[in-house]
Amino acid sequence: MEFIVKAENLVYKYVAPSSSDENSAGDTTDAGVPLLALNGINVGIKKGEFVAVLGHNGSGKSTFAKHINCLLQPTSGMVWVNGISTADEETIWDIRQSVGMVFQNPDNQIIATIVEEDVAFGPENLGIPPSEIRKRVDEALATVGMSEFAGNPPHHLSGGQKQRVAIAGILAMRPDIIVLDESTAMLDPNGRKEVMKVVKQLNEEEGITIVFITHYMDEAALADRVIVVADGKIVIEGTPAEVFSQIDELKAIGLDVPQAAEIAHKLRNHGINLPQGVVTPQHLVEELEKCLLK
């Protein structure tokens, strides 16, 4: 099987500043406690796959995401993107061009004073001819449904609209992979829906591989595969149905399950005969309808 992203025995260690002496932190290891942010991650992500990554704060999920576009490099182990090792300085820019990242805070990612100029920033830096940039910007804004705002200043946009502009900026670079690191955390329910819709569409229609980090279980339930990270390791992995059936395990590591999965779980505990793997409201309603007809 060909993987677009592959990590093998990925370990990332960093030194936390010691609490007694902040000034000396960083230059010697005995100034602080080395922490294993990632402790042996093995994972392969297939081309065109939509993978959700869950984990509590400090679990290592963002650290993992930052390895995918070389913002961080492994302490030991390897990460390959499109078959290229991220540890090779020579090819860092090739990887960054094929992996786009969307971060949490919409206000930290937009740099230009006009929406379309912001989207053009990436391709401009790649040295692409102006006519081609024009084409890419128009297409990218159309894909995320933001064409009508092309000439607007970004600060009047909603959070969801800003994140869509950030995604357009990445699309204009023609990436293979988009990594979204809690990109819906600061949005309201409408903004979350807008971003989710665009991400699903990019995955299904454009075939872009998606790595989606989130605390919202209902969003993770829409992925092809869910990876749960705790203490720098992958602890649970599978389809949303498989992962969200493990209610007690998820709760033990401080995560939620979608309400539909929780209702199914509680009904099963009361002796109602529901199959494993019921995690979406639609599926639950279908299964309960069968119970009613019996």
Partner: protein
Amino acid sequence: MSIEIKDLCHVYSKGTTFAKNALNNINLTIKKGDFVGLIGHTGSGKSTLVQHLNSLLKPSSGQILLDGEDINADKSRLKAIRTKVGLVFQYPEHQLFDMTVYKDVSFGPKNAGLSEEEIKERVESALEMVGIAPELYEKSPFELSGGQKRRVAIAGVLAMRPEVLVLDEPAAGLDPRGRDEILNQVKQMHETLGITVILVSHSMEDIARLVNNILVINKGEIVLQGTPTEIFSKVDELEDIGLSTTQSAYIARDLRQKGFALPENIFTVDAVVDAILDELKKR
């Protein structure tokens, strides 16, 4: 402390071409000791409204009365009013600044001119209330986890002993465990201190679990008002203004459409489970 808002209007950039009516004729009363949820989509006027409660924003017209006193009537009373109404903004941890947790929380009481003993008592009880252990008092607030930082920031407001506590999205960006910790502490504060709490949130699940009364704001107007039971059964009205109800409530609605005789007013996991069990037993 009761809050009464009368004919409140707020216009941003008044007199310019960018003039925008952010609040439009708001009339409402919040009883002393109530736990109120304020919901509305982004740009609906939630934050503008809560910033009026301690006079950070002044009404374009209308009044805000705290226990009957117009808070904008006498400027010299402003400091006292701001002590009574504590506002915790979104991402309050961005406002931490001092060398240690203890010093940061003591900043407000110190400026209020309280005695050392009184400051110590207030800082310690505020930190205890938010679940920050004494071992952390002398740490730099910047060494703490995201959830801990946020709780220290909330303690800074609590140390002023407010009678009304307004929290704007206190759980935003936290993981599920951090969210539960903070919200459970807010609930506990409300119960033990008897203060009035106003919680601004996008999470219908959190609102459903915590508050006694809900205010729904849309385009600068209060469009719905009632108990969680009353509000969350109005699925269509909520959706019309870009809001939603809980996933459990949607499941109950879909099951009703499939012929389940479930009550109209259930919106939590446990209520839906119980109702489904009752219904299946009947058959």
